[in-house]
Structures are given as C-alpha cells and as structure tokens.
C-alpha cells in the first residue's frame, strides 16, 4: 500500500517587519545581519492571530486541495507547535472542531521545537498504513517568540502548513522516512518563561548540521538513493544560511534548494518552516519529480522524507492559494506596531 500526501495547505499572516526596522531600535548593523542570516524581513501575526487560527487557515486550504476527502473521514489531527495558545487545552481539538472533523477522531498537540509536525506526519503514515484511519492531518504552526533585542528577533516569525495523509488520490507518495534524534541543549524554553534561550553558535555544528545531515544520509542509504536522484531538497530554515550549508555538505546544488528556500521574506516560521518549503515545491513540481524533505527540531532531531510527485498534483495545486501568494501578500509595519502586535509591552 502506498501512503502519501492527499492535500496540502499554507498560510502566512499579512504583516511584515524589515530587518532594518528591528536593527534601528537596538543599534545593530542591518547590513551585516541581512548578509549574516540571509533574511530580509519576517512575517508578523495580527493581534487576533495565534497558532490555532494559523493552523485552521492552513488546514482549510489543505481540505480544498483534498477535494475528495470529507472532514468526517479524517481520523487523526495533530498540531505541532512550540507556541500552543494554552499550556493545557489542545490546539488540535480547536482545529478539528473548526474543520468539522469532530467527534469521531483522535487529536493531539505535539511539541518538538520546529519538527513536531513532521513527527505528526509520521504518526499519520503509521495509522493509515496500519488500517486504523483512512486519512490523518498534521499541521505545523507557530507564532514564534523571541526576546526583544535577541538575535532570534530578526527571524522568529509566524506561519503554518497543513498536510492530509492517506493512501488514495495521492498528489505525492512518501516512499520512505527516517529520523535521527539525540539530547542536545541548543535551544529551549522553560515552563512559564516568555521567551526561549539558545546556545548561540552551539546551535550549528552539534545541533542543526549533525541532525539534518545524518537524517538525510540515513534515509538515502536505506532507500538506495543519492543526491542526484532528487529534483528538489527542502531543509528546516532557521535562517537563509544553514540550509544552504547543509545542502553543500550533502552535495546538493543551489538549484535543488532554491524553490523550497522560503525564509528570506517571511523569516523562520518554526514548526511551519520546512513544511512551507515543501508546499512551495509542491506548488511547482511536476509528476515523477522527487523531493527530499528534512525537518529539524532543537533538542534535537530531524525527520527526513523521500517524496515522489504524482499526476494528480496538476489539477489539485490550483484549488488553494500558493505559498508564493502568501509570501507576496504583505503590508509593512514599523517596530512600534510590531511591539503592539506581539504584546511586548506590559499593561
């Protein structure tokens, strides 16, 4: 039995703040930040948007593309995020209710920094393949938090991507998945703390690169594929530089990375990041083309997937807005309005 993607959907809030506007407030050099991070601007949620609302918007787009799927046929809903609105009360139940998936379904919130939703896809693959459910949905959504003035403030943004997993009417088949996980203290947020902390440079070699590279290599070894078998490759995008370096280490070309690199104008959407990159690839990929997707979550782990695009993509991709549409739909705000929308003031 083949298992794969039946529908996918993206969502990015309308508002943006430029690196210049953040750098001016803190006296940083915008030019060196832009060239150092490979990010020019980032998305900012409205005051009335949070992880649950972003997840619903992306999930509605996924359902539009999976037009044969009735909400009542979705037997599992997982929302991966590190910014769930409640500490206790599942975002996934709100999403399931808003989409009419309730009540005959399982639902849960997942947390593994930026990779929780790819773990959700793996769970859906298992439930579908085991015959327990017909379809499952996994959504990566975040309104990422960053301490004012911290380096993270230049990239921590908001966005969501939703995937419906099943075994019929596939727009893309998932031919294999492999994960690589270790306990690495590169980025964390304690219970009740408003902002995450990170290990600075330590987030690179022993964290992001170790896991992204080993998960990708592990998957290709098990499937007997190599870098030249892939038309596109998508990695988690904490900034614009890390995925390019990971690609270089593994031997991929810039051309293979380019389409899925959606960080320069929206920032790091955390749990949405690699899955928005995959959506951007599915927006343009042709039947028969192969995609390597490797997520990364601090703490630390990577899930790698090998995906083959099917014919049905041609008629389904135009049923909902593309990632490109959301990236280009924007209105700039300054730091004062950004501080208001992120509630950086105390009151």
């Amino acid at each position: 039995m083949s298992v794969g993607i039946v529908g996918y959907g993206a969502y990015i809030p309308k508002y943006r703040i430029r690196v210049e506007d953040i750098a001016r407030v803190w006296g940083h050099d915008a030019g060196s930040i832009k060239s150092g991070l490979g990010v020019l601007e980032k998305s900012v949620p409205s005051l009335d948007e949070d992880t649950a609302t972003l997840a619903v918007e992306a999930a509605r787009n996924a359902l539009k593309r999976a037009k044969d799927v009735k909400p009542s046929e979705i037997g599992a809903v997982y929302v991966g995020s590190e910014s769930h609105p409640y500490a206790v009360k599942p975002t996934a139940a709100t999403v399931a209710e808003a989409l009419g998936i309730v009540p005959d379904t399982t639902a849960a919130d997942l947390e593994f920094a930026c990779k929780a939703a790819t773990a959700g896809i793996q769970a859906c693959m298992g439930l579908v393949k085991g015959g327990y459910i017909k379809y499952g949905m996994s959504i990566g959504a975040d309104t990422a938090q960053s301490a004012p003035g911290d380096a993270l403030e230049y990239t921590a943004s908001a966005g969501a991507a939703a995937y419906i997993i099943g075994s019929e009417n596939l727009v893309a088949e998932i031919e294999g998945t492999f994960s690589y996980t270790q306990d690495v203290p590169d980025f964390w947020r304690r219970e009740g703390a408003p902002y995450p902390r990170h290990g600075g440079r330590f987030t690179g070699e022993p964290a992001y690169f170790e896991h992204v590279v080993k998960a990708s290599k592990g998957l290709m070894e098990r499937l007997g594929t190599n870098v030249s078998d892939y038309n596109y490759v998508v990695f988690h995008m904490p900034n614009g530089k890390f995925p390019l370096r990971a690609a270089k280490i593994l031997g991929f070309t810039i051309e293979q990375v380019r389409i899925g690199l959606v960080v320069e104008k929206i920032g790091n959407t955390y749990s949405g990041s690699s899955l928005l990159g995959l959506a951007a690839v599915l927006d343009v990929a042709k039947s028969g083309e192969r995609i390597l997707l490797t997520s990364y979550g601090s703490g630390a782990g990577s899930d790698s997937f090998s995906i083959i695009v099917r014919d049905l993509i041609e008629e389904r991709r135009n049923l909902a807005p593309s990632v490109k549409y959301y990236v280009e739909r924007k209105e700039y705000i300054d730091y004062a309005l950004y501080a208001r929308s992120k509630c950086l003031y105390r009151g």
Binding site: K14, D48, D50, A52, T53, V56, Y86, P321, S322, Y325
Partner: protein, 141 residues
C-alpha cells in the same frame, strides 16, 4: 463583560467556528444565528443546520474607537454587518483592512481569528471574522 462562563462559550463555539446557521427546507429561508423555528412557516417549517460559504459583502459598517474593555487592544477597528451570499446578515470585525479602505458593498470572505480573551488565564474565544475577498491568488498560479 470580563468573564465568560465556559458553558456560554461552548454553546456558541460551533456556530462561530464554522459559520453554522439554519435553513428552512419548506421556504428556503436561511438564518444566522441558527433558529429552531421558521418565523415564516411556523409549524410547517422544517429547520436543518447549514454551513455558510463564508462569502459575502459589507452591508454597513462603523469604525470603533472607544471599545468595550475586551476589544480595546484592537481599536480602531471596523465593525460591519456582512450580508452573506446565502442571505443572512452577520455582525463581524473586518480584519486585514485599514479603516480608510472599507466600503459598503465590498466583497469579503470568512477567516478564523481570536474573538476575545478574558485575561491571561481565562478562555480564548475563537470564531469567524471577515477580511477583504482576494481572488488574486488564482491568477498567480
């Protein structure tokens, strides 16, 4: 209003999350919020639940500058009567739109947003709001 009891929130959640109203199968009238009795057909009416498409236009609007406490952080905001394509008029904030851009007759589409929250520890109420309809994504693809 500073406190919403969980049952009051829960009773209206389905209609707010999915824009669920009611329809009389006898005369075809649609209602929001949902009704149990058709005011036209009375006992001949056959009321069923219906999910509205979320497409509509602005019937009228006002700009709120002085808001109740739970909406203060959104001011100035647009509060509109939206006429759904199925007929009923619903009251909603218009988002992703500046107060100077809103017009009577403007096409709008439903979106899912936070409606209000009691405080840092209370329930968050979610539901429909409307934003300007944008079909430009169709020509981008």
């Amino acid at each position: 209003m500073s406190h919403i009891a969980p049952p009051a929130h829960w009773r209206r959640a389905k209609e707010r999350y999915r824009l669920l109203g009611s329809k009389c199968e006898n005369c075809g009238s649609t209602f929001f919020p949902p009704t149990k009795v058709c005011p036209k057909c009375r006992r001949k009416g056959r009321i069923v639940q219906t999910e509205f498409s979320g497409k509509g236009k602005i019937y009228s609007y006002t700009i709120i500058h002085s808001a109740p406490k739970m909406f203060e952080k959104y001011t100035p905001y647009i509060l509109a009567l939206v006429e759904l394509e199925e007929g009923p008029k619903v009251m909603s904030q218009i988002v992703d739109c500046k107060p100077e851009e809103v017009k009577i007759g403007m096409a709008v589409e439903v979106c899912f947003r936070k409606l209000f929250e009691q405080d840092g520890e209370g329930i968050i109420s979610y539901g429909f709001k409307f934003r300007p309809a944008d079909n430009s994504w169709k020509s981008l693809q």
